[in-house]
Assembly symmetry: C2
Homo-oligomer: 191 residues x 2
Amino acid sequence: MPARTAGRGATVWLTGLPGSGKSTIARAIAALVAQDVDVEILDGDELRATLSSDLGFSAADRDTHVRRVGFVAELLARHGTLVLVPVIAPYEGARQQVRRHHDDHGSTYVQVHVSTPLSECVRRDPKGLYDKALHGQLPGLTGVDDRYDEPPDPDIRVDTTDIDVETAAGQVCQVLADLELLQPVAVRPRQ
Amino acid sequence: MPARTAGRGATVWLTGLPGSGKSTIARAIAALVAQDVDVEILDGDELRATLSSDLGFSAADRDTHVRRVGFVAELLARHGTLVLVPVIAPYEGARQQVRRHHDDHGSTYVQVHVSTPLSECVRRDPKGLYDKALHGQLPGLTGVDDRYDEPPDPDIRVDTTDIDVETAAGQVCQVLADLELLQPVAVRPRQ
């Protein structure tokens, strides 16, 4: 769905288990929206190497990471960027803090739960993380020995088990269009 | 000088001693530029309460703070915002890292040295910091018992001892116009 912004930015946070398809969907969304949409993908791995290079994977550090990413995303969103955030954000508390931070600044926050089940994530294991975790070489992996709080009320749930990435990205774009954050470029005229 | 962006963002870092006038000049610049310029002021105190709430004032923590602020500023600048950063940034090394980070991403970095001398900053002491530091109640204040590296090659030096804030802001805006980051709205026609 080619689309353009309706003149306002937003944070679109894709939360989900490792390997659920968050980053792939984010890249597909960025490819789907029209050239004149100002898009940024705040990639979790890249941010951990820069903004959060001091942090590990304790519960406190995970929450700090999520709050920092939320702070940066909100600033960009407030200035008109469509900010895609494929970051696990495992705990409901920190996710709610990020949402409140957006509300406090009048910025739009959209939550996408990439709800691909654990069994499918383990089967895919694109980064080999589950393999390491299940062999005891990677302690604290979300979904294995660290908890993931299912978001109770996301704007959309996308389970990528039986759909391809373009379909998943299209479903998210449809939600963004419904929220008037994206608008179809070509609207079919009424007959 | 009413002005508008030439379509690209930039980071304008105002470095200088506490009380030199950085934040006041930043607010005056934001008031001077035209309504259609997308401006953000990344205020040091506010960022220390949020993005850098874990950091103190050791040399390492100061550098980390400056790098984090530089990371956020670059993202905003890359997306077209004129980012004003009134943050002390006392050490040359971290300032150069921020400049390189901007260069690496093709983003514009402008350095303003608010060079109001220490004696004048102490005389003004708008936050009472020097008074505390000189009475031994605030260790590690830049300019008193922590060093401030004079920037060797800023884009502009502004000493506010003998000029008012509007004049100082106008001087910075002129530099931004010379760099084609701002353009005068009303250009006087040639006679």
